[in-house]
Amino acid sequence: MQVYLDHAATTRVFDEVAREVIKVFTEQFGNASSLHSHGEQAKQIYESARSKIAKHINVLPEEIFFTSGGTEADNIAIIGFLRANFPEGGDLITTEIEHPAVLEVMKYLEKLGYSVTYLKPSSEGYIKASDFKKAIKKNTVLASIMWVNNETGVIQPIDEISKIAREHGIVFHSDAVQALGKLKIDATLVDMLSASGHKFYAPKGTGFLYVNKSIKIHPIMFGGGHERGLRSGTENVPGAHGMATALQIIEKNYDLWQKKMLKFREKILQTIEKIPNHHINGENTIVSHINVSFKGINGETLATALDMRGISVSTASACSSHHGSSQSYVLKAMELDEWIVTGAVRITLGYDNEEEEIDYFNQVLLEEVERLRKLQE
């Protein structure tokens, strides 16, 4: 049996979304910027997608800008905001547990002369709002704090941080790549928000950025002036339509699917409980996300054993070079024990998982943990 439990890495495009995208590929294939009817048809689909997505996160259509993915959305938000408003420098607040799409931008900005404060998570993977408050300086101009962490699945206190940011007039960006489609998101809590289509059953190479209309922002790429000048390049109409379709399917099935996820989660957690010496990494996570370590078992080794039995999970501790095992900077920031950091595997459920897949996974997990532990005895 093939069981995919790595939905935080990417998702299978919903069948209905695939069919819709194909239709646009071959029927409404025009260039949305063309004046003729082929162009008009494409433009209508594109703008209708924008409206649906805007509605999904409770903002205005003109506040949605399509991008090629989460990485680009993060880059435009942070770099574009600073170029437009604080080209001379300033202090930024982010966290130690952001995705590289934010962290690497911060490193780049540090080289340009910006200062960056990195907030530390609790050992449960949580950024404390009080820490955020303490980190605010006179020249703090922007905060970028993710909605849900991609390794642990921990939901961050966006509402509390939002309040503090507003009190201090700090523009607040959130990388919601792991939150979209999994939580009900009210984007008006923040000023800018990034999302990536392939994380919610839409095609790869799609994403969007919400920018509150009061925020001035510059492009990081130049060209034909598409997306009101913020993101040039021929509009990815099928991609946008795919994202909107996927979000609508999720909206429609949300309660039902959350219940299903919860049931599967409970089943997996019960299995894990049967195994001595484990540690669940992160508290208050999204339902689909379980990050766990088993003492004495390297995360890569467990993931490989599961993979050889048809199950895809992921690990952040793969050894990728002769320089030694690379460890998860997220779990390290949480100051967890060495065995927990090197042992972590990430199991992320999807709306398309079936109960028999979960049952198979549970059985294999028990067997492989036992087998790998026996190799040491």
Binding site: N298, T301, M308, S321, H323, G324, S325
Partner: protein, 119 residues
């Protein structure tokens, strides 16, 4: 990372991770990788009558341990001491030279047998 069928057999179905009556043993640790291998050898007249391992670490170190055991079990120690990286890679059908930890079991075997040489 894709592994070969040979690698998969070694990693998933190691036949030498059992307990044996050993005459010699040694452990090697690659601390930066979190890899730890102990090799147990039952020697009789310079013949490896039986061999087994304990391993904790990455998939490669586990597969390499089993590969070594398969290669040297029943062999004369002179042959055992000539096992090199290339032999192990061949037996594992694993050719990514980046990973050096596949030599941990070989080192452990040599360490175990070095006691013999000193005897």
């Amino acid at each position: 990372m894709t592994y070969s069928e040979k690698f998969k057999q070694l990693f998933m179905y190691p036949a030498h991770a059992n307990q044996i009556d050993y005459t010699h043993t040694a452990e090697v640790v690659y601390p930066e990788h979190g890899d730890r291998v102990r090799i147990f050898v039952k020697l009789e007249n310079f013949l490896i009558k039986d061999i087994s391992f304990k391993a904790i670490g990455c998939p490669r170190v586990i597969a390499a341990s089993e590969a070594l055991c398969r290669l040297v079990n029943g062999k004369n120690i002179n042959i055992a001491l000539e096992i090199n990286e290339e032999h192990i890679r061949q037996e594992m059908d694993f050719h990514d030279k980046e990973f050096k930890c596949i030599m941990a079991p070989v080192e452990a075997l040599k360490k175990a047998l070095s006691k013999l040489e000193n005897e």
